[in-house]
Symmetry: C2
Subunit: 250 residues, 2 copies
Amino acid sequence: MTSSHQTSVRTQKDSAKPLSAEKVRVCDYCELRNRGFCSRLTDAQKSILSETARLVTVEPHKSIFRQGDETENIYVVRNGLLRLYQQHLNGRRQVIGFAKHGDLLLSPLSERNEYSADALDPVCLCHFRRQDFIGFFQRDPGFSSALAIAIHEELIRARQQIALLGQKRAEPKVAQFLLVLLESYAWRNAEATRVPVRIPQADIADFLGMTVETVNRTLARFTRDALISVAKRGIDFLDLRRLRQIAEST
Amino acid sequence: MTSSHQTSVRTQKDSAKPLSAEKVRVCDYCELRNRGFCSRLTDAQKSILSETARLVTVEPHKSIFRQGDETENIYVVRNGLLRLYQQHLNGRRQVIGFAKHGDLLLSPLSERNEYSADALDPVCLCHFRRQDFIGFFQRDPGFSSALAIAIHEELIRARQQIALLGQKRAEPKVAQFLLVLLESYAWRNAEATRVPVRIPQADIADFLGMTVETVNRTLARFTRDALISVAKRGIDFLDLRRLRQIAEST
DNA sequence: CGTTTATTTGAGACAACTCAAGTTGCGTGG
DNA sequence: CCACGCAACTTGAGTTGTCTCAAATAAACG
C-alpha cells in the first residue's frame, strides 16, 4: 500500500441498509418512463416490473452495494448522482463512472457485483430483486432485448471512457470529462450549462487516472481562464466552445 | 494533425472485399461451438444460424470493416487476430482491443460500426447479415439473451481495459496488457506461456495510451530482465510470477 | 535488392507526480 | 454560537518518468 492520496480505501462508517423501501405503485408518473432503461419497455412490461419494484432513498456518502457481494438487487437511478468504482489488488481505486437518472446499475447477468456504488448526494432509486428480473428475462423476450440494449449503451459509454483515458495530457482529459458530465445532465434542456452537483476532486482523479493535485491545478486553470466556474454545489460552464477545443486537442 | 508517431492515419491501400465467401455447412465440427458467443446458443439455434452464415478469410493488414459505415454484417472470429480501433476527431487513433477466436464483432444493435477492424495475421471469420440476425433476435428470445450475455462479457472486458488505462506508470500497464493477452490465448492449455502473433508496437502504444518509444523501452527492459522473450512471430513468457508482480504494482 | 515500414537508441524538455504544508469548508459537541 | 477536528481543497518546490525530436538500425515486401 502506497502513501498516495488516491488509493486510500475509504472505510464506509455505516454501509447502510436502504433507509426506506416502499412499493412503487405505477411508473406512469415517473419522468424516467421515456428515459434510459425503462424507456425500452412497453407499458405492459413496465406495469409488471412495477409490481415487484421498491423505491429506496440513500443518504450522501452511504454505500448502496459493494463489489464482490452477491447480486441480490439491481437498480434504476431516479435522482441523484452515484459514484461507481472498483477496488484493485494493489489498493488502487478505479472510479469507473458516475450514474444518474435513468441509469441501470448492475446486471442480472452477473452473480456478483462487478463494482461498488455509493451516493454522492441524496439518491433515490428503484430496485428489483435479481431473481424476479431473471424470471421476466426468461419469460419475456422483450425484456432480454431491452436489457441487451441497455448493456450495449453502457458498453458504448465504456468505450468513450477508454478513448478519454487514452489521452496523454491532463487538460484534454479533464475537459472531456467535464463535457461528458454536462451532456449527461443536459437531456432535458439541451443548452444547459450547469452541472448541479459537487464531485470530489479525488473521484475525478481516480476516474481519469491522475493525481488530485493535477486535477486541481487543471480545474484552477480552467477557472482562471473563465472556461468554467466552480460553485459550492456544482459547476457552471462559461465557454463551451473553448472547452471543446481543449478537449479535442492532442 | 500533429507529427506524432501514434496518430498517423494509415491509409489502407486496398480495403478488400472478403477474399472468399462460402457457405458454412455445419457448426458441428467448429471448435468454437463451446467457446465465446456460439457456445451460448442451442444446437437448434446454431443450425438456424449456420443457414445464413458465410465463411470469409482475410489477409493480413486488410481491413474487414470501417468505423462509421453502415453495419451490414456482424462477425464471429474463427482464427487469427484482429485489431479494433476508433479514429478520433483530432486524428488520434485509439485501439480499443484485439479480437480472437470466439469473439463477436460489432453488434446488431448499432446501425453503424462503432469501430474499425483489420487483420493482424491471416484471419478467418463467420459472418451473418445484420438483418437476418435481427430477425432471429426478434423471433427467438434465446438469441437475444445470448446476445445480451455476449455484450455483457464485452462490457466486462472494456472495464478491465479501463482499469488498465487508469494506471499511471508504464511498466504495470505493459505487464497487465501482456498478461491479458496471454490469458486470452490460454483457453485451451491453461498453462500456455506463448502468444503466437506479432503485434506491432504502435498498436500496443495506441491501445495503452503511450508512445511507441515508451512501449519499446518497457518491452526491452522486460526482455533484459528475462521476463519475456520476443520472437519473430510472438512472445514467450519466461517469468509469469514476476510479471504479475509488476502488473499489480502501483 | 532497393524501398518502405517497424524497431531501437539517445539526448533533452517538460508535464505530471511526489512530498509537504497550508487553507478552506463543514459538521459536531461544548 | 463558537471551538474543534476532520476531510477536501489549494499551493509550492523539487523530482522523475514519459514524451518529443532526431537519427540509426533492422525487418518486411515486392
